[in-house]
């Protein structure tokens, strides 16, 4: 209880000071708004439904991109992990494409898909692909060699080997990768919305800023932070429940 109180002291003081400075009119309320107005706006965007619509749009972009990018990353990562030759052959190609910042692809994706979910999906997929590729490849490499020997003894074909041995053995670490990629997906989709795509939470943020509604702007920022935090906490809980301590060391890398 005491810890919680101490932890909330700084944010509390900042908010209090902010409110007070506006009340004594030291700071102009138009440009920065003030905490109580922001809180009211945060409730307001729920009541008029804008938050729900915007969050659903952002989620659909983030989720579809995450699904596509992560799936491709896992498939390619398994292939690279199983065949060192393939991984070596692709090395230059991978190292050439990987350093491209995902946001640099926004104008290109815009040219190809125009505005809409696909624009977001493609950029998010690109940015989720790489972490999953790397995590999966090293997870597959790290599988106990005896498991692979067993699958050979049992005369498994490639499909059976992947489904019955490799995926289950590499899953804890792959899940960690998927959780980290989910956080990336949310960030990237909001970024795409801020820079180009007229939908979702990022666009709502820009609209609020351009119409000088600082209260709504801060309200949306608060909601975006809260959504990101809850998503991460939920996925961490799932990870802990399903895999226990397995795979947690991945985060130290």
């Amino acid at each position: 209880m005491m810890r919680l109180f101490k932890g909330l002291m700084i944010p509390g003081c900042v908010l209090g000071l902010w409110q007070w400075l506006v009340m004594i009119q030291y700071v102009k309320s138009e440009s920065l708004s003030y905490p109580s107005a922001i809180a009211a706006a945060a409730i307001g965007v729920i009541q008029d439904g804008t938050l729900l619509v915007a969050a659903a749009q952002t989620f659909s972009g983030a989720f579809s991109g995450w699904l596509v990018g992560a799936t491709l990353g896992i498939v390619v990562g398994i292939a690279f992990g199983l065949s060192q030759t393939l991984s070596r052959l692709m090395k230059i190609t991978v190292e050439t494409v990987r350093p491209i910042p995902s946001v640099a692809l926004i104008p290109l994706a815009l040219l190809i898909y125009g505005y809409g979910v696909l624009l977001e999906t493609s950029v998010v997929a690109f940015s989720c692909f790489w972490p999953l590729l790397i995590v999966t490849e090293s997870a597959v490499r790290g599988i106990e060699p005896r498991l692979i020997e067993v699958s050979r003894m049992l005369n498994f074909n490639l499909f059976d080997r992947v489904i019955k041995i490799i995926l289950p053995a590499a899953l804890p670490r792959i899940f960690v990768g998927m959780r980290l990629a989910a956080a990336v997906a949310l960030v990237v989709s909001v970024t795409v919305e801020i820079t180009a795509n007229p939908m979702g939470l990022g666009y709502a943020l820009i609209v609020a800023q351009e119409s000088m509604r600082a209260d709504r702007m801060f309200a949306f920022i608060g909601w975006i932070g809260l959504i990101g935090w809850s998503l991460n906490t939920a996925l961490l809980n799932i990870q802990y429940r399903w895999f226990g301590k397995m795979g947690f060391w991945e985060e130290q890398v």
């Binding site: 932890g7 052959l89 190609t93 640099a104 104008p107 290109l108 040219l111 801020i194 820079t195 702007m217």
Partner: protein
């Protein structure tokens, strides 16, 4: 000898595969299987890139973006390591500050751009401020982690040797935190390039980010691809440079 042979052979074939992809791209693009509006031939892109590099405007945009990135990143790195060390070393500071950091951590860096635009307007210092603010968190959080996970037995040794507080920081805590600090710096560097591009797109000031937006808007696809290649190269070079520094600084560690 055979190992070296093996290595250079795998490099050779790897380059061959890459050239194969380029060739495939060239064939697909010249056959116009995909619309040339957004899929120009690589040969055209490289020619455009070469032409761009002969123009002073390109280098102006290049140096603008790079200098914003470097200024923002360096200040963020300095502040992040210093603040992180203070917070990481003092458990009292942690109980007060850590929850606030946890609150800010999940916030997408780009979400704060509108705040900075509203506060500072669409200009150069806004972009640097955005880069600074967003690349501060990865270094800061990693430094805190590095400083608070000092092996307790090392601290006991320090106590026995009667080391002063400064000696403890510079001889034990800082070397211990170095690996974490560099992990944070790597993240921050990536973030700083991304935010430089995003902020330029929004602010419409000269730079590599604006270059690609303008190219896309006027359907100059070869320029767009050339711009993306340049940004990829910037990402690659800055990352490699930092990795070099890291290897030099951490060379005492048994890998």
């Amino acid at each position: 000898m055979s190992q070296l042979d093996n290595r250079s052979r795998s490099w050779f074939f790897s380059i061959l595969v890459f050239l194969g992809f380029l060739g495939l791209w060239q064939v697909v693009a010249t056959a116009e299987l995909i619309s040339p509006v957004f899929f120009p031939a690589p040969q055209k892109c490289f020619v455009t890139l070469y032409e761009q590099m002969n123009q002073p405007e390109f280098w102006q945009a290049f140096s603008q973006t790079i200098s914003r990135m470097i200024v923002g990143f360096s200040i963020a790195a300095f502040c992040g390591v210093t603040l992180g060390a203070i917070i990481g070393l003092s458990s009292r500071a942690r109980t007060y500050i850590e929850p606030t950091l946890e609150l800010i951590r999940p916030l997408p860096a780009s979400a704060i751009i509108p705040v900075f635009i509203l506060l500072m307007g669409l200009n150069d210092s806004m972009i640097v401020a955005v880069i600074l603010f967003s690349s501060l968190w990865p270094v800061l959080l990693n430094t805190v982690h590095g400083f608070k996970t000092v092996e307790p037995r090392l601290l006991e040794v320090a106590q026995i040797l009667h080391l002063s507080q400064m000696e403890v920081i510079f001889k034990i805590a800082l070397p211990n935190a170095m690996a974490d600090i560099f992990a944070g710096l790597r993240l921050s560097l990536t973030v700083s390039l991304i935010l430089a591009v995003v902020a330029e797109m929004l602010a419409g000031t000269t730079g590599l980010g604006q270059n690609i937006t303008l190219a896309a808007r006027s359907f100059r696809s070869a320029d767009l691809y050339a711009g993306i290649m340049v940004l990829g190269a910037v990402g690659y070079i800055t990352n490699t440079a930092l990795a070099k520094v890291e290897r030099h600084v951490l060379r005492w560690r048994a890998v």
